[in-house]
């Protein structure tokens, strides 16, 4: 009984991680640098959603609107801070992205205060299946995560934009030579990356029941673990990596030690990387 319940929690947490990891790895695949301010897209998503919900919007609409708004923020951040540094190598970009992360965190503090705020979830009766109580929140999280991942899959496989994104990720020089304007593909990639990050942040707020200015920053480590586990730059790897990390964290917390759930994420990561150094799906990298 506890095992099945843990599995549900693990899958839901895994869904949150997987969605966030897909967002991060998409931007990495196209730009080849790890955006340390990605966690702030999660935080912003949760806070925007909270704000809109407090203004009276239904939670689903608030979430969608927040995600789109954060997508726009992603494009702004890229244009203002990352794009001018693109030709200067990776280190300036990494340092800049850490700087952006701190600036955004503190901006949120100025407006929302430092204390965690309760996320306005309506009370929901758990679903009872054969003596098992499954909270609806977990099912909603899992559902949203699966739909998001399916949407990313459809985008990458069946739309011209998605194919262009994959082409730029595969070989930016050849994509240019083939006539693809990397400018537009970059904008679209940052929009999608930040938007998915915001969705991840909203799902995270639902699992944690609270939002706080540093929630995304703290969660970023786990998201990194999922990205690396799946093979950096691989969206499908990130999905699987996220689900596995979520399961490892919940199973570890339930059966070994509740305070160390983050540690289980990294034990999982280390084990996989010993066996497959490029990650589960990182073959062609």
């Amino acid at each position: 009984m506890i095992f099945v319940q843990t599995l549900v929690y693990g899958l839901a947490l895994g869904g949150v991680i997987a969605v966030s990891a897909v967002g991060l790895t998409l931007a990495y695949g196209v730009t080849r640098f790890i955006n340390f301010a990605f966690g702030e897209f999660l935080t912003l998503g949760a806070f925007f959603c909270l704000l809109l919900a407090q203004a009276g919007l239904g939670l689903a609409w608030a979430g969608l609107a927040a995600a789109v708004a954060v997508g726009a923020v992603g494009v702004l951040v890229e244009r203002a801070f990352y794009d001018p540094l693109m030709s200067r190598g990776l280190l300036p970009l990494l340092v800049t992205s850490v700087g952006v992360a701190f600036v955004v965190q503190n901006l949120i503090r100025i407006f929302a205060g430092s204390n965690p705020v309760r996320f306005p979830l309506p009370l929901m009766r758990p679903i009872e299946v054969g003596g098992l109580f499954i909270p609806r929140e977990q099912l909603i999280i899992l559902g949203v995560a699966l739909v998001t991942m399916l949407a990313v899959h459809l985008l990458l496989r069946f739309t011209m934009l998605g194919k262009k994104m994959r082409a730029v990720a595969d070989d930016p020089m050849l994509a240019r030579v083939a006539g693809i304007s990397s400018r537009r593909v970059l904008d679209a990639t940052w929009f999608v990356s930040a938007m998915i990050g915001a969705l991840g942040g909203i799902l995270l707020a639902i699992t944690q029941i609270t939002v706080a200015p540093q929630m995304g920053w703290h969660f970023l480590l786990v998201v990194f673990a999922a990205v690396l586990l799946g093979g950096i730059g691989s969206p499908y790897g990130a999905m699987i990596g996220g689900l596995l990390i979520g399961l490892a964290m919940e199973l570890g917390a339930t059966y070994v030690a509740a305070n160390y759930s983050y540690a289980f994420a990294f034990i999982m990561l280390i084990l996989v990387l010993i066996l497959r150094p490029r990650g589960l799906m990182g073959g062609s990298g």
Binding site: K164, R166, A175, A178, G179
Partner: protein, 237 residues
Amino acid sequence: MSDAVLRAGGVDAGYGALQILFGVDLEVRQGEHVLVFGPNGAGKSTLIKALFGLVKPSAGHVTLAGRDVTGRAPEGMVAHGMAYVPQVSNVFGSMTVLENLEIGGARLSRSRREARIEEMVALFPVLGDRRKQSAGTLSGGERQMLALARALIPEPSVLLLDEPSAGVAPKIVEEIFHLVSGLRRTGVSVLMIEQNARQALPHVDRGYVLEGGAVRMTDTAASLLDNAEISKLYLGG
């Protein structure tokens, strides 16, 4: 000479302080196939990059169908009817053959793109058999065909080929040159640079000898092949 599709006039180019090309003049006429050859380090590769906008010429101009396109970015060159097939890594290895072709037609309408893909598959039937196959698993010759087809999808007026025989098994090289030669049917003009000039020259109309970053001479392919001095100096005997 008003029928020149592509013309370079007095092109200087290089990398930073290092100048490689010195006042290169050349032209490719409508439907013509041209080979640029010369010793290693002659500047062939810089020339093709300067024509396509991958290296900005520091002097001179490049015109495409009478329009000055000097120093435009590659994506702009494609929009104006020039196409380029790089020497190595010229296919998207993580994508399928069909997706590679679709990328070539990214600027076209969906119906036009699909029509062009069918035309390319008719031209290179082996690609049709491998539509769903990942491009990374193709043989060297098949990759070159895919790269050619991808570049041809937007119906360029000039196709620039950077060493099409590189990375291809020796017995396939002749086949590649045949394929390029066969593109005459489509009316596309071709400018090709090749290390393997002896084998490439019989398949083109005209050749330019590039040495020390400047054009030494130009003549019809037949005359160049007959020229004992050229043969000795640049065609390996």
